[in-house]
Subunit: 207 residues, 2 copies
Amino acid sequence: MEKIAVSKATLGRLPHYLQHLRTVFKNNDEYISATSIAKSLALGEVQVRKDLNSVSGAGKPKIGYEVEELIKSIEKVLGYDNLTNAVLVGAGQLGKALLNYEGFEEFGVRIMAGFDIEAKKQTSNQKQILPMEEFSKFCKENNIKIGIISVNKESSQQICDLMIENGISAIWNFSPLRLNVPEGILLQQENLALSLAHLNNQLVNQN
Amino acid sequence: MEKIAVSKATLGRLPHYLQHLRTVFKNNDEYISATSIAKSLALGEVQVRKDLNSVSGAGKPKIGYEVEELIKSIEKVLGYDNLTNAVLVGAGQLGKALLNYEGFEEFGVRIMAGFDIEAKKQTSNQKQILPMEEFSKFCKENNIKIGIISVNKESSQQICDLMIENGISAIWNFSPLRLNVPEGILLQQENLALSLAHLNNQLVNQN
């Protein structure tokens, strides 16, 4: 598999390009220019060029990008050809909201199941919530690579360690505790309060 | 009120500094050096200096920062002296999770209430969930400045417009729709799928 790392900002725009390109492709257009894409999506032309060149290489002068090829390139970067399997531990309110959040698969990740110590939490819409006893077996059988942590602060390091023991190599942490992970393990700390704080700080300084 | 805009990264570290400084203050230490703070919090010294100088001005050579003054400066930037009032619209799973998320007040924002079209959703822990009919009155009476949107894609622009009509000047949007706001209104788009996509992209490119 070809490996292309793109910036988070570019990544965020890729689904919009993809959606537009699929519409264009249905209309049997073979080529598309950056100018046309920029206009349709209300983006800057320089930005569109930069984004698309980073996933696919430059378009042809005066012709543009080959639509079908560009679609395939974006799908590859977004992981459509190879969904990464994820699990979530901690099926409280936030956990359930994440389990049922639409749009993760659009970015190449499939949350296979949620886990919780409380056995009474059995299902949440279509996603199954399993007891922790089944965690290890499930991770191994389903080649789970991403672990999402939405337990409380007190349990989060323990859950993180358990995930790594079971072959998970990327952790997405929603608990407010800063986790320790060994080298080679990817950790992304999500701090919802921080986003709100940033907005508030801008607001206070604007007035 | 003194106005200080700091970077999102610095903002994220301020509560850690604050917690540490309060402990130091309890021990009756009048001054503290950046070196000591850096060591205690496992941060780089240059970073600590940069962070603290951006909120408080430089420390005194060979003496360091005045602990009490530094605490007050950080509290001011975080908005402790003047909490901003917020409301949330859309009390589904994600909405409820946000309503009960701990730590927003620590960053200067108080979510006063949630609103939902479904009257059956009445309360969620301590936070009240009110019917939409009460929205305008509530916003005006409580000087609401921040609106959090956790409704579905279809309703989000309508809710955003309603918020602005009622004096809200900063929007934190969790719906996947890109909202249109007039000039002067702050908009922060939260895309949870995007954070996960970023983690996945790093993972795929690491292997």
